[in-house]
């Protein structure tokens, strides 16, 4: 009972801290609006540089003083002050994200101690764990590849995810129903959570790709967008995530089929969850094919990836809550 109390405390706090982190990143990007905007040619060079190095550098170019937008800081000193503020907010965001991450890890661990089992037996627990994977991967990437530009969407996702989990999806600790007493409970669900996390990051990247691409095409890259890598680079990172997630998702579906054969006596029964898992799989298969088909690369492939993510979310939220089936483990 005490463990459960601490778990809930940690998870609610993590949702709040993620929200604060999101505010910090929002402030970071708001401050970045006041950084100077360079000439298109200059920007092109920066993008090429960014393509070779994921780490976006601070774009402080005092020598470009003549090309300022209205509202941007007026002198080199001001520019430096603005960039310092951007940096401060950004670091604050990452620091808060780390705190939120540690809190949610603590929440998951205490939840497992409270329940005496792996902490992913229902929708609440699954969401919290998937968010741990998402934020964990993001933090590793911040550390190794300097992707702080992902901070705003990732903390938004984590705040919404954990927020929904502790409010709407919440269920108290309880043992598992007999159908979940299986080794596949460990394999199938962890694979689903990891591939789901990667789909989510890939989907966020694809959205950023579309936004950045549009801005590039309209020659209107400034503020937050300027600090993103080039659209080509974003597309590449999104692809890496989705290319990692797809085989794992395939494995998730196969592991689910094997488990279904043990638990329900058939490996495939067109249960709504199974159907949507297949739909998601097929959409991402379409994404991978689209990426190597002329006329489908880039924007269309990104749109497919976003549709795939929508299908993943519908399978997770919609099917769990609104459609009855054998995967009704939400317990709400």
């Amino acid at each position: 009972m005490r463990y459960e109390y601490y778990s809930n405390l940690a998870l609610v706090s993590s949702a709040v801290v993620y929200m604060l982190a999101m505010f910090a990143h929002a402030a970071e990007w708001a401050a970045a609006r006041r950084l100077s905007v360079k000439e298109p040619a200059e920007r092109e060079l920066v993008n090429v540089a960014a393509a070779d190095n994921v780490r976006p550098e601070l774009d402080v170019h005092p020598e470009l003083e003549g090309h300022r937008q209205p509202g941007s800081a007026s002198g080199p000193q001001d520019q430096a002050a603005v960039s310092r503020r951007v940096e401060q907010f950004g670091r604050m965001g990452v620091a808060l994200t780390i705190i939120g991450f540690l809190l949610s890890v603590a929440g998951v661990v205490t939840r497992a101690l409270a329940a005496h089992r792996a902490p992913w037996g229902n929708m609440f627990e699954f969401t919290v764990m998937a968010m741990v994977f998402i934020v964990g991967v993001y933090l590793i990437m911040v550390w190794r590849a300097g992707v702080r530009w992902l901070g705003l969407p990732v903390t938004l996702l984590a705040a919404v995810g954990n927020g929904l989990a502790v409010t709407v999806f919440y269920v108290a600790v309880a043992p598992l129903v007999p159908a979940l007493h299986s080794v596949w409970f460990l394999i199938h669900i962890v694979a689903a959570a990891i591939s789901g996390a990667a789909f989510n990051v890939g989907g966020v990247m694809s959205i950023l790709y579309l936004v950045k691409k549009r801005a590039e095409e309209r020659d209107n890259v400034h503020g937050y967008l300027e600090r993103l890598p080039s659209s080509r680079k974003i597309d590449l990172i999104a692809y890496r995530f989705l290319a990692f997630a797809f085989p794992l998702w395939t494995f998730t579906v196969v592991a689910g089929a094997i488990w279904a054969e043990y638990a329900w006596g058939r490996y495939w029964g067109w249960d709504p969850k199974e159907t949507w898992a297949l739909v998601t799989w097929v959409i991402y298969a379409g994404y991978l094919h689209a990426r190597s088909t002329a006329g489908w690369r880039g924007t269309r492939a990104a749109v497919i990836a976003i549709v795939g993510l929508a299908s993943f979310w519908f399978n997770f939220v919609g099917i769990n809550l609104f459609v009855s089936g054998l995967h009704s483990y939400a317990g709400i």
Binding site: P178, F246, Y262, G265
Partner: protein, 529 residues
């Protein structure tokens, strides 16, 4: 990647706007159709069509999953129901249009695979492509001045590349190397495996069978057609394929959550059974649980449901026992409010029948009698009574779970109200008008066993293992070409290294090329650019 491009150009070169289309003739038309079908764009469209077509089956009730919900749906939507039925929305996954999409997709897949297997076979035998004239134009390039070193450079280059698992070809002043052949191999394995998955599924559908049987605890099941409550089998299945085993359910342990959280949720189902492989064989004891089915030969026995069977004794007007034993009742909700019919056709002078409600934890309030917990904490049975003249035994099958009131009249009290019986375990009541009596002796549980065999599963499973492996290879193997050339006069020699990645989303080409250049030119001073 090149293979894919070839596929595109094959489709593109015979685009629909080519003016000479009518001259194709039937053979040409077929070829045209085939190229179209096996083009990547068609495959993409078919993939999306498949995703879209699968969706209605998850939202509209499906006959194979819950026939009751389908008939409810038709009753609730008298207009829409028949239309849905006609277009196959109640059996999406066996409907002609769904089948057409996935079959076309697989035809398209085969059409894509066959030429690519040939292309890959040629590529495997081919030597790495010749060194381009200008290596500096490649995406990664490094040059090292080796002054007047001897000719051992190329040998070192070849060795270094072989060590990195490149296929190496030395010709003249340069070494050409390629690696990552497994990418396309993985791609082909993945797609071929998908065909085998479908083959496995088809074998299971043709030769497999599946049926269920409700077995009261203490009783048994023998694997022959008469013992199944429902049964479905593929076209190639014959009754002789049923292994002659029998299973006796010795006892069945069920536990439900009694704590405040998820109260009433199932916590344990465990049946102790005795399996006799064939008549005369020694029985062996086994434990049957939800995630641990029995394997008897090639047949699997799953525990897929359970419920209650009240034990009743019915005596007729003459005081003779007209029926005695457990009556299987079907649970209607999560708390196992169960309904069923107790039939005593042998009661005389009039046969008796009861429409009964069995409640494991009975509560009687303004909602009427219902159960509030799935376990038998306060079992009770409620019933109303029907009687009628004896009926000639026709041998026609009838539903054992529901009462057909044809030829029966409901037993009523003097004031016209139907007689309602409420029984606790051990209770008995005498029916009015001297019609007889009924007693609730106790209750037992029943389990629903699913007996089945799906012979294609191992094929599908192995194919899926290959598919996932192939998929990983096709996504993670990095095909790369590297060329190393020694150029210049003695005394002014340089080593040039150029590299080209043949799949996007790869990193480290520049670093690898620089490293190669450094290694090949050793022990001299390195100045990679």
């Amino acid at each position: 990647m090149t293979a894919i491009k070839t596929r595109e150009s094959a489709a593109g070169s015979k685009g629909p706007d080519r003016p000479d289309l009518p001259k194709l003739g039937w053979r040409g038309s077929l070829r045209y159709l085939w190229t179209q079908l096996s083009s990547m764009r068609t495959a993409l469209i078919l993939l999306f069509a498949l995703a879209l077509a699968a969706i209605p089956g998850s939202l509209v009730p499906q006959r194979r999953i819950s026939p009751v919900r389908v008939s409810d749906f038709i009753n609730e939507h008298p207009r829409l129901g028949p239309i849905y039925d006609r277009v196959g929305l109640f059996s999406v996954y066996t409907s002609p249009w769904f089948s057409a999409i996935y079959l076309l997709l697989f035809v398209s897949l085969v059409g894509c695979i066959i030429p690519r297997v040939g292309m890959y076979a040629r590529a495997l035998r081919a030597r790495p492509p010749r060194t381009p004239r200008n290596l500096a134009r490649l995406p990664a390039y490094a040059m090292v001045d080796i002054a007047d070193q001897d000719d051992g450079v190329l040998g070192r280059a070849a060795a270094a590349l072989r060590q990195r698992h490149y296929r190496v070809d030395t010709a003249g002043d340069s070494v050409a190397a390629e690696r990552g052949y497994l990418r396309e191999a993985g791609n082909l394995v993945f797609h071929v495996s998908l065909v085998f998955v479908l083959v496995g599924v088809a074998i299971g559908a043709l030769w497999g069978f599946r049926g269920t049987s409700v077995v009261v605890v203490g009783q048994g099941f023998s694997n022959n057609l008469t013992q199944f409550d429902d049964f479905s089998a593929g076209a190639e299945f014959s009754e002789a394929d049923l292994a002659p085993f029998s299973v006796t359910v010795k006892d069945f342990d069920v536990r439900f959550e009694t704590g405040p959280v998820q109260r009433g949720a199932a916590r344990l189902f465990r049946a102790n059974v005795e399996v006799t492989e064939r008549p005369g064989a020694a029985p062996r004891r086994e434990v049957l649980e939800v995630n641990t089915p029995l394997r008897i030969g090639g047949t699997t026995v799953h525990l897929i449901g359970h419920g209650y069977a009240p034990k009743v004794t019915v005596k007729d007007a003459q005081g003779n026992v007209a029926f005695s034993g457990p009556v299987v009742m079907l649970p209607q909700d999560g708390n196992f409010t169960s309904v069923g019919a107790i039939k005593a056709p042998d009661a005389r002078p009039e046969r008796l029948a009861f429409e009964a409600l069995f409640l494991p934890t009975a509560v009687l309030d303004d909602q009427g009698p219902h159960s509030v917990f799935p376990d038998a904490l306060n079992p009770a049975m409620f019933a109303n009574v029907w009687y009628g003249p004896p009926r000639v035994e026709t041998g026609k099958p009838e539903n054992v779970y529901s009462l057909d009131p044809t030829g029966l009249r409901q037993l009523r009290q003097a004031d016209g109200q139907p007689v309602r019986i409420a029984l606790k375990v051990g209770d008995g009541v005498t029916l009015p008008d001297g019609k007889g009596s009924i007693q609730l002796d106790g209750w037992v549980r029943w389990v629903k066993l699913q007996i089945g065999d799906t012979p294609g599963v191992p094929i599908s499973l192995i194919a899926l293992a290959f598919a996932v492996t192939g998929l990983c290879l096709s996504l993670f193997v990095r095909p790369r070409r590297v060329w190393i050339r020694v150029r210049g006069e003695p005394g002014h020699r340089v080593v040039e290294v150029g590299g080209l990645d043949r799949a996007d989303a790869r990193a480290g080409l520049t670093e690898d090329v620089a490293e190669l250049a450094a290694e090949v030119s050793r022990p001299e001073d390195v100045s990679a650019t």
